[in-house]
């Protein structure tokens, strides 16, 4: 039951400008980045390869359980390893990953390098838009089909008067 969207791939919808930090960076820097940017997370990279991720929720939980930790390195809080996606991945494949992994944010990696970030929201919205377009096209095709059938029916009745075949 796959809806085919040949045009839609991860690279079209991903966020290209991802906030990143090295693993030696302090948690305070991560907090500042998250406050400035709306991405909701910071990806921790080593030689441009994502090795971990810190989300706003991780930060809140850490602040609650361990108090003021703004001077600690991000590597103590980050979630590792991360599930990443490829920029050439199709949206319905991405949806399968989302349904099994249940994360909200996925770094996009090409040749072991971070090239973007994609969220569940972006993928679901893109698929919903594609589906809407798909549905409209399909409805038009169906209407044309019905008109055609009706036309064939009329022609058949007309022809039948003169050429009584099948009897």
């Amino acid at each position: 039951m796959a809806i085919k969207c040949p045009m839609a791939r991860i690279e079209k919808i991903m966020l290209k400008d991802v906030p990143t930090l090295k693993k030696e960076a302090k948690l305070g820097e991560a907090a500042r980045l998250m406050a400035q940017r709306e991405s909701g997370c910071v990806v921790i990279v080593e030689n441009e390869k994502p090795i971990g991720i810190i989300t706003e929720f991780d930060f809140v939980r850490n602040a609650v359980s361990r108090g003021d930790t703004l001077k600690e390195p991000v590597s103590r809080v980050m979630k590792s390893p991360v599930t990443s996606m490829a920029p050439s991945m199709k949206l319905d494949e991405a949806l399968k990953v989302i349904d099994t992994k249940r994360f909200r944010r996925y770094p996009v990696v090409e040749n072991e390098k971070l090239v973007g970030l994609v969220t569940k929201k972006d993928i679901v919205n893109a698929i919903s838009d594609n589906l809407r377009l798909h549905r409209n096209i399909q409805n038009i095709v169906l209407v044309l089909f019905v008109l055609f059938e009706f036309f064939v029916f009329v022609v058949y009745r007309y022809v039948q008067q003169y050429v009584p075949f099948g009897a």
Binding site: M1, A35, E56, A63, V64, K121, Q138, A167
Partner: protein, 155 residues
Amino acid sequence: MIKIRSIMTKDVVTIKPDSGIMEAAKLMASRSVSSLVVVDKEKPVAILSENDFIKGVISKKANVRDVMSRKFIVISPSARFSEISKAMREKKIKRFPVVENGKLMGLVTETDIVQATRDFTRFHQIVQEVILAVFGLATAFFLFYFSPIGASVFG
């Protein structure tokens, strides 16, 4: 038509404007929510998100009142899903307290909207396949009925 009532989170975690932000963070962590509704006399006055909390920690603010954001839209439980889906995309508003008769009934967050869109998409795919199947069968029957073979069968 999906109504807000069916997708909203009914168990809303609320906090008062003069509570401390660490108290708010504790609530968020223990209840696993990404935002709290700030209420004053049972009326939602603002939203406190994880992001607001982080901003508060950086700027060393102590009270919810100093970091909460007033950028939210109150909706009714009988509103349609498509209305807020549009507001979310165009105005970049992520959270919608649901209010009926002046009382806070629930909260619709981005996660709820994304999940509803996801389920809606799945439902639509199924409906679409069924319509196609019915049309396919009808067409096959139609062609058969009016073909010479069909005519000999149906008389």
